[in-house]
Structure formats: structure tokens, C-alpha cells
Amino acid sequence: MTLVTVKNLTKKYGSKIVVNNISFDFGYQKCIALIGPNGAGKTTTLRTLAGLLKPTEGTIQFESSTTNQDIRKWIGYLPQYPAFHSWMTGREFLIYSGKLAKLTKEEATKRAAELLEVVNIAKESQDERISRYSGGMKQRLGIAQAIIHKPKLLILDEPVASLDPIGRREVLGLLEKLKQEITILFSTHILNDAEEVSDELLLLHKGQIIESGSLQELRNKYQTTVMALQVEDEIHDYQTIVANLNHVRNTKIERGTLYITSDNVKKVREAILSLADQERWPITSFSIDQASLEDMFMKVVNN
């Protein structure tokens, strides 16, 4: 079952194309990460999905909705820099948000109390004015207001980008918990965050989706293994030797470590180890690592 189907979505500002003819769909109970560097069109895509922007071309279908339906009640949205009525207390703002989403006063009050616990806003802060909240508290309150009406889709724009490590941990943990119940679509330019909680990835670059799929699928497709070599003496002397070995595709030196990519790890490993044995290389460390999502992304972008 698909929850959202986006077809040929294009968004232009004047002659500037920010989102260029993208299509994708996703089902229920998934956590989808929209990944891309700053300026890739992530925010515009999310805002258009949330109904804040109108597509220049293309359609967004929500379940079997028609274009005339108000799909806002099924969507929860948190912008990257949420602003609140900061003269309200956290609880007041949640109740207000709930009532706007057509909950009754009782429902909204009950749900607000629940969510203040879920997003871990301390008892003494719940009835304090939002103007006194920290950045992390505001972000968590933002998530609470976005899910107060139990939407089917939760859209989050860079939910952890502005948070310190502790706040980031808390929010990612919260997403992990929420994705059991709600489909989450979130954008990030930090790939580790995507790696941590998402099931599916959409890679956005210059307004286009250049790759999509589950994390595992993309891993298999773009898998490269990187070997890292460290020696006691000058590493540059070894780079030329290694670079001339069969099956070595690329070498580079970063902070005294020689990184080697190859299309046949086994052969290269054997070659290096036997060389090291024969020539008595003063190796301090030799390791084989999986490429990070970051490397993968660079690879996709560069292709």
C-alpha cells in the first residue's frame, strides 16, 4: 500500500528550478530520509508535500485523495527553524495545535499531557512560557505539535541539524520510537543521522532524485571497500608501490593514512601482506572498512 505518491513534481521560483521533475512513492510505517547537500531542494520538496507551497507542475497524491481534498489533517510538519507563539506555555501551544487540527478540547488536553511526557519535556517546564525553552526543548515541542492530531505522515525538515549531541541523541531516539506508528519523512544533510534511523533513502541533488532505495540495496549497489594502511616511516614512499599493484583503483593519503580502494579486496590484501613480509614494511596498522554513507553519496553524485 502506498501512502504518498509524488509524480513529476517540479517547483520553480521565477526561472530558477529548485525541484526538477521528481517522482517517488512510499508506504506505511517507514522512515524515509531525504538526503542531499544544502541547496539540493530538500526543504522545498518537504514544504510542497506539507501543502505550504504549490507545485509548479506535477501531483502529490495522498492515499487515494483527490487534489481538492484538504490533506493537511493527515500530515504533521516541523520546519527546520520552528517558531512558536512564545508567549504561550508549552502545554498551551500543544492544546492550541490540537484544537486547530479539530480535536475536541478534552482530546487535545489529554493528548498534550501525553505528548509532553513522550517528548520528555520536564514537569516544571510544561507550564512555562516557550520563550524560556532551550533549542532542544523547542525542537521536541515542535515534534509534539506535529503529531498531536495523530497524522499518518510526519514531515521533519532537518530535525537534528541545530541540536547539540545530547539533543540530537534524544530526537533520533524519539524518531526511532515514533516510526513504529507513523510514517516519517525527514531531511538531513548529515548522513550518519539518516543511517541511524531510516529504512529508505532518497538522494536529492540539484533538485533531482539521483538514487533511492533501502539502505541495504544502496550498500550492495555502491559497495566499495576501503583499506587503510599506516606505517612508521614516510607513507608517501609506499603510495607509489601500492598504486602500481593490480586491482588497485585509487589511492589517497589523509592524515598520514594511505587509503586504498580496489575492485578485488582479496588480491590486493594478499599482495600488500606478502610485500610487507618480504620488504619488512614497518606497518603499524592495516584495516579493511566498509564505505560510509558519505562515501557512497559522493560516489553517486560524481557518477
Partner: protein, 259 residues
């Protein structure tokens, strides 16, 4: 009901930011300033050292009650209108600028509810303030200058309220056009000034321009009967206000709330 939710939020906001306290007080002050200073003018002249020697004033002019009421309304039309524009200049534009409107309008909120809840909440504040202002002014005029009937008070309050309704509607309208509250205030004041100039220049054609309402109120009080001109001007001003609010909601709906 969603409209009530939005309306209550406006009332609470204007209570917490003290508008419900200071706006009525300022309107009352503006309303009684002229009756009082006019009455005590001789004393003020005396206290500030009297008239320069050689200037002899037989007697300061006597003012009719309706003339003093006109002074109150003129004061309200200058500073009162300015205050009303300034308190409402950021009601939508400010929310759009800060981004809080994004959180509100991404919920299934009707644009018409959003606009009219704000409109009615500001009208309530303005009408209550005006009621108190005109009431106090009416009381002072009765004590110091002579009789104005209760009917005169009601007529003044009601029809002048229609003019201020137009001012609020105009400001709300510009709120949907600009994100900068400074621009909202500038264009609201500019529009009122331009309307007033046009009304003066084409006075023979524009009989029922909203800017004439004060004049007709005073005419009505002097002659003692509600003129057809006053009623028609009232109807036209109300119609213009409603049109502005309808347009506002249309503009906001078409406008993209983000960016």
C-alpha cells in the same frame, strides 16, 4: 469550533501583551484631552504667564457641545487611527515573518477563520476602547459645555465605530500583502491620507466616502436628526470593510505560506 480556538488565542495574546489594558486607556485619554484642555484654556494661558502685553482678548470663544465632540473625533482620527494601525500592523505579517504561521496553517485551518478571528478580535478591542472613550468624552462635554443627548452618544459611538472598523479592515488587508509590519503601517496610513485627499478634491461627487463619516456625525448631532448621508456612508464603509476582509482571505489562500 476552530474559529473560537483562533479567536480565543487572539484575545489571550492581546491580554498577555497588555493591549487590552493600554489601548482603552490611551483612547480614553485621547477622547477627553480636547474637552478638558479647551475648557481650561483660559487657566492654562494664565498659568503660563498670560497673554503677551498688548494682546487683549475680550473673551475666549464659547464652544457648542457638538463642536467639542468634533474635536474629540478629530483627535481620534489622527492619533487614535495611528494607534489602531500600529497595534494591528503585525497581526499576520509578524506571524508570517517569524514563521509561526507555518505551524498554524499547516494544520487544517481555514484561511477565512484565520483572518476573521483576528479581525473580530481587533474589532472587539477597538469598539470597547471607543465605547469607553466616547462615553467619557460625552460625560465631560455634558458637564463642561452643555447637553448632548444619550442618542447623540449612541450615534457617535456607532457610526464612528464603523469608520474605525474600516481602519482595522484596511490594516488586516495590508497584513496579507506584506511581511514587513512597517510596510503594513505605512500603506495603511498612506491609503487613509490619499482617500482623505481624494474625498476633499472630489467632494461634490464622493458624497458617501468613508472619510466623510465624522462630518455627517456632527451634522446629525447639530440638526438633531440622522441624515440619509450618514446612513449611506455607514453602509458603504461597512461594505468596503467586508470586501477588504474577503479579499484578504483570498490573497492569503493564494499566497504561499513558506519562503
Amino acid at each position: 469550533m476552530q474559529w473560537m480556538t483562533l479567536f480565543q488565542k487572539e484575545l489571550l495574546e492581546n491580554w498577555r501583551n497588555k493591549k487590552w489594558i493600554w489601548v482603552p486607556l490611551v483612547i480614553i485619554l485621547l477622547s477627553i484631552m480636547d474637552p478638558l484642555t479647551t475648557y481650561y484654556l483660559p487657566y492654562i494661558i494664565e498659568a503660563t504667564g498670560g497673554m503677551p502685553s498688548g494682546v487683549v482678548i475680550e473673551e475666549l470663544p464659547e464652544y457648542a457641545p457638538s463642536e467639542v465632540l468634533l474635536m474629540t473625533l478629530s483627535q481620534l482620527s489622527m492619533l487614535g487611527v495611528l494607534v489602531i494601525v500600529l497595534i494591528s500592523m503585525g497581526t499576520i505579517s509578524g506571524e508570517r515573518k517569524s514563521g509561526v504561521s507555518e505551524l498554524v496553517l499547516v494544520k487544517p485551518v481555514s484561511y477565512m477563520n484565520y483572518i476573521t478571528a483576528k479581525w473580530v478580535s481587533y474589532l472587539l478591542l477597538v469598539w470597547v476602547s471607543l465605547f469607553l472613550g466616547i462615553l467619557v468624552s460625552w460625560y465631560y462635554i455634558n458637564i463642561l459645555f452643555g447637553t448632548l443627548s444619550f442618542g447623540d452618544f449612541v450615534t457617535t459611538f456607532f457610526f464612528y465605530g464603523i469608520w474605525l472598523t474600516f481602519v482595522v479592515s484596511l490594516t488586516i488587508f495590508y497584513n496579507t500583502l506584506f511581511k514587513s509590519s512597517g510596510l503594513v503601517a505605512f500603506f495603511s496610513i498612506l491609503s487613509i491620507m490619499v482617500m482623505s485627499m481624494i474625498t476633499k478634491i472630489f467632494h461634490h461627487i464622493l458624497d458617501w466616502s468613508p472619510n466623510n463619516i465624522t462630518e455627517y456625525i456632527i451634522d446629525t448631532i447639530s440638526t438633531g436628526e440622522i441624515s440619509k448621508d450618514l446612513i449611506l456612508t455607514g453602509i458603504i464603509t461597512t461594505a468596503l470593510s467586508l470586501t477588504l476582509i474577503l479579499l484578504s482571505s483570498q490573497f492569503l489562500k493564494r499566497k504561499e505560506m513558506a519562503g
